[in-house]
């Protein structure tokens, strides 16, 4: 089957927004390229949120 679709312009923008992609790449490089990733690999998530004042 050959697809014939046009990515809607607005949605295209949503998916390609630089700001978001950048934020996530930062998370990625923080966690992948340092040993912190290995540490967090065990059960990697935020387990405590400070109470809001």
């Amino acid at each position: 089957m050959i697809y014939k679709i046009k990515l809607p312009i607005i949605i295209k923008k949503i998916q390609s927004t630089e700001i978001k992609e950048k934020s996530f790449h930062e998370i990625e490089s923080n966690s992948l390229q340092t040993k912190k990733h290995l540490a967090r690999e065990i059960y990697p998530r935020q387990s405590f949120f400070p109470e809001k004042k």
Partner: protein
């Protein structure tokens, strides 16, 4: 023919589909229209369709495959077993709680998060250091809150600890660490880090569980045992028994009541493309057959904006209502607002 690598997972949200690459920990987005088209063709892609092929292939998501091999790549099993009774034990370190730390020694606990605050005494730090030297956990997380004044003393005492130490410094205290070991990591957090945890364990666990409340135990400074800091019910006191057995706590039928509430069952979150990678400490409440939250998330999936981003509007501002146990919204108005936000 091409297909997605088997380590690629898709989550369709309200405006867009999230693509999670579990090998590289990268996420991408693509339009829901494309998701629907791919679904029709069992997520197989013909190179003749240049636009879609180029788009996905550029992101390294596609694997070339011949027709006769196409059934040889089975989907990854997306269930996870965590072979511990408790995945995270969050422990407020006070004079009184630290005296009971030894009772945790024989429990089946994966990792600890110790909270240091104004209630943390010098003596409790010494008991804490004895405990971490003996416990089996490889990783210890330390969280500093306002009022903790003994950080110098603490770092002196843990100078030779070889375990991996993760630090959450919410108090902004000066860290004076004399250790030469490279086993300390300072977590930096922003709004997105707080909400999302982009890793495979989280992705798998979220299929059937609430990734914040599941397999968590919280022991507060007065030794009260709860599921988490946010929950109200108290299921015992570490001070009362000479021995402590988590199995007894778990026997209480309500202790685990939040563990299996999935984002799929929760209004708003079920429309969010981040729902499989999200860690959410808000207490869910049940209205009719749906779970809802009283407080709004800092991400609005209906306009694909985080609260710190330009153009963010809250659910309230968009007249999106969940308090009746179902979602009420004006889709036309919403689509106008989204178009306006993302145009230009």
């Amino acid at each position: 023919m091409y297909q997605f690598f088997k380590n690629i997972f898709l989550t369709k949200g309200f405006n867009r589909t999230l693509v999670y690459d579990s090998l590289t920990s990268k996420i991408h987005f693509f339009p829901n229209d494309l998701y629907d088209q791919l679904l029709l063709n069992n997520f197989r892609i013909d190179k003749k369709n240049n636009e879609v092929f180029e788009f996905l292939n550029k992101k390294g998501l596609l694997q070339k495959i011949s027709d006769d091999l196409v059934d040889c790549f089975i989907d990854l099993d997306d269930e996870i077993q965590i072979p511990y009774d408790i995945a995270t034990l969050v422990f407020e370190l006070s004079g009184s709680s630290s005296k009971n730390l030894y009772k945790l020694k024989n429990q089946n606990i994966l990792q600890y998060n110790f909270i240091f605050a104004d209630y943390t005494s010098l003596k409790s730090i010494e008991l804490f250091v004895d405990f971490i030297n003996e416990c089996e956990s490889d990783t210890i997380e330390l969280t500093f809150l306002n009022g903790f004044v003994y950080s110098k003393h603490l770092f002196e005492l843990i100078k030779s600890v070889k375990k991996i130490i993760l630090l959450n410094n919410f108090a902004g205290i000066k860290i004076d660490d004399p250790s030469t070991h490279k086993n300390r990591y300072l977590n930096s957090w922003n709004d997105i880090h707080f909400r999302l945890s982009i890793n495979f364990i989280n992705y798998l666990e979220s299929l059937k569980h609430h990734t914040y409340f599941n397999k968590k135990v919280f022991i507060n400074k007065d030794c009260e045992i709860k599921n988490s800091q946010e929950t109200k019910e108290i299921y015992g006191n570490l001070n009362n028994d000479n021995s402590f057995d988590i199995a007894k706590v778990f026997k209480n039928p309500t202790f685990k009541k939040l563990w299996s509430i999935k984002k799929e069952d929760t209004l708003v979150c079920q429309d969010c493309e981040f729902r499989r990678l999200c860690v959410d400490n808000r207490l869910p409440i049940k209205i009719k057959n749906n779970w809802v939250h009283e407080e709004e998330c800092n991400y609005n999936p209906y306009i694909s904006k985080w609260s710190h981003e330009d153009g963010f509007k809250s659910l309230k501002e968009l007249d999106i209502i969940t308090k009746n146990g179902y979602l009420e919204m004006n889709k036309e108005k919403l689509s106008l607002i989204t178009n306006e936000l993302w145009e230009g």
